[in-house]
Symmetry: C3
Subunit: 213 residues, 3 copies
Amino acid sequence: MNAISTLSQNFIFMLEFAATTAFAVSGVLGALRQRMDIVGICVCSFLTAFGGGTLRDVLLDRRPFFWVEHQSVLIGVIAISVGLATLVSRNQLERGQRWLQIPDSVGLGLFCATGTHLSWIAGQPPIVAIMMGVITGTFGGVLRDLVCNEIPELFKDHRPYALCAAAGGAGYAASMAIDAPTWIALSACAVVAAGSRAVVIVFDVKLPPTGRR
Amino acid sequence: MNAISTLSQNFIFMLEFAATTAFAVSGVLGALRQRMDIVGICVCSFLTAFGGGTLRDVLLDRRPFFWVEHQSVLIGVIAISVGLATLVSRNQLERGQRWLQIPDSVGLGLFCATGTHLSWIAGQPPIVAIMMGVITGTFGGVLRDLVCNEIPELFKDHRPYALCAAAGGAGYAASMAIDAPTWIALSACAVVAAGSRAVVIVFDVKLPPTGRR
Amino acid sequence: MNAISTLSQNFIFMLEFAATTAFAVSGVLGALRQRMDIVGICVCSFLTAFGGGTLRDVLLDRRPFFWVEHQSVLIGVIAISVGLATLVSRNQLERGQRWLQIPDSVGLGLFCATGTHLSWIAGQPPIVAIMMGVITGTFGGVLRDLVCNEIPELFKDHRPYALCAAAGGAGYAASMAIDAPTWIALSACAVVAAGSRAVVIVFDVKLPPTGRR
């Protein structure tokens, strides 16, 4: 039992690391597109990987931040950014971006689940907890686009991303409402968010255009 | 007496709701101009309506935020944003924008009053309290313009807006300095800020150009 | 002894005031380039002068902010901004910018030292303390560029600036590791950061381009 629990913990940690890396790589790519130097690349990568969770913690008034508690992940993300920026060409990264969508979807699910959960156990009302989950999963990318001087992709893409996170958060809230154990609620959140995002990618789902003609 | 007090509370609540809605609508309009999708519209609307007060609360280290305590207003703002984005065309909104200036001025006054007051009773020095009032009344629009990738209108418009809020804050501080009751100080702040903004709009008052030639 | 200590305190205060002013002036210049009005100029100047330290304090959850505790500096910065915007032409400022690099480098060193120190004594791990020093010294300029709707110079300039601050922070951490007294560590940080930045300016040191071809 203990061995299984350790195994599943290691599995989740590996998923989280892969997801954080996927976020960081998309930050590196955004920075390279703007011809930033190594400092810009590291900041952009940091913001994309940790920005959503940090904003959530500022809003919830939680300390220490994840990257303060887990220096190793912080150093890992910076090392990966520097490595990519020196070893890989932008074209290679652009081609690889397609495959990044897989760990990125996993990250959306995992980060959304932790964000919703932390807000929920802090006693926030359900709709706020869902918002915090969405912020945790998506605002890293928003901060990346803001420092790259672009309108955030999250706001213009028309392919649901934040809405997938919101669906995951709703899954969490629903599980909690029927008194399901926490791990069920967390899994429901992550699976619904990542799964619905996968459906969006595979079937190229688009939101209807806004602003009546 | 009690009935009058309830009446006046309801009146203020209605004013605040109208003002928050005016702010939210200007966020929806900014998002539509940038052809954002429904997610961008909701975020933009949220930031414009609640961004100033939230930034103030982060700076003052106050929790819970207004929109955490009053879920109904949060849900109302989101519902209005979604409704406007689906039912109204951008042209209609542009034409309506003229009329939004009225509740917007009221909002400037009310939000400035609450911001100045909260900072004052937290023991901040007068100039900081006035700044917090200005931030509460104006930074929602600044955040809207930042995510819309534009230089904030607040910084370029040359028609006083932040200065009206500062004048209101000065009215609050002056009232407090002569030991006036709180409701007088609050009213002075709101009336001076909203009134001076109304004068600016009606007479098209402009600040002198900056940067000597 | 007491007289010497007072003298050195006054000296440091004068250095800090010169540095804060240099930061503020670069904010005024950024705002003038975007043809902002007097409100934009003051906000831009404030953000450049106090933004880095304020962001650090929000991340470390420290209150009150420097500019809340030291109203006189806040008023001084606003007064200088208004004075410059009305009395000096943009061309004159552009020409003066060359000379601003000297107090700006001093500011980088001093602010980096205070930021690293505050984070260190708050018990943060060394790498986080160094990051906080870098943020304190550099993020004022990042916020200035963001509200001016430009990609932050810090991320694109290729002339080391943040890296000089990081070197200073490493000097602080190394001094602390060998149990040097605090004033030695602080001086090491400020001297390494400001000195290496001076070297960068004088010899026009450039980072290699990023993104392999």
